[in-house]
């Protein structure tokens, strides 16, 4: 049985939503996909009934700051400053190094936390939400 460790993952991103590039110095990522539940319980039922509703996703990505410029990593950590964001940015979150096991979606970066702590490596934490279809090729 094959198991995977976190370092086998990776993140690709394109702010224009077309051809993604690897976000270098990625330390971690996470994606939570949620489905709303709609109560369809009828009067007189003994057990509560639910059906699935809208599906959405949100997540986070930690990137070590490297002062890179003019590449997708730089675009990624600055994307929060995009005006009139149409949510076209393309995210690909990989679970393995073969590049086939991934979650992909268009999304909006909703926050970026830039931090510096003495004695520690500087980290940029990006939070995002999905926009539209979430494809899980996992």
């Amino acid at each position: 049985m094959a198991f995977y460790r976190g370092q086998q993952g990776s993140v690709k991103f394109d702010d224009a939503g077309s051809s993604t590039s690897t976000i270098t110095s990625t330390r971690s990522w996470s994606l939570t996909v949620e489905k709303e539940s709609l109560d369809t319980t009828a009067l007189g039922d003994t057990y509560r009934a639910n059906v699935g509703g809208l599906i959405s996703g949100s997540g986070t990505c930690e990137v070590l700051y490297t002062a890179s410029s003019a590449d997708e990593t730089n675009a990624f950590i600055k994307n929060i400053n995009t005006a009139t964001d149409q949510g076209v940015a393309l995210f690909e979150l990989f679970l393995d190094t073969t590049g086939t096991k991934k979650a992909s979606f268009n999304g909006v970066i909703t926050s970026a936390e830039y931090s510096a702590t003495v004695g520690e490596i500087e980290v940029v934490t990006i939070n995002f939400v999905t926009n539209g279809t979430i494809t899980l090729s996992i």
Partner: protein
Amino acid sequence: MAAANLNTIRATIEARLATELALAPVIPVVFHNQPYVPTPNSSWVQCLVSFGANDYLTMGGTTGSSNSVIGVVAINIFTPKGVGPGANLTIGKRIRDLYNRAIVSGVHFDPPIGPEVVAAPAPEGFFQTQVRLTFETFEDL
């Protein structure tokens, strides 16, 4: 981008000390695995570089990834016995100032510990203190 060259890192650390102690007043310095017979009632320094924990920094495999390489430098300072700690601490200050928070050729030095007095000097016949400091460098594969 390449795996860390441990000898380059060691040389960076040792060369910094050797250059400083070659300045007046000159203090003999000896490194790991080197024979040295100290002159009685003299001052001299022993520098020991050791590598320790390595850790993941970023995602990725054997290429396109980064690791943290951590190590420790232990510097023993020997001065004549029975004349107080002044001469020893003077050397200790030179060494401490040399590395304190410095970043040299990609090697990040943390604030030093010491000089701490060593109760049982080795070799005997000297007053011994020790300055220790951790360092971190980054390996890009």
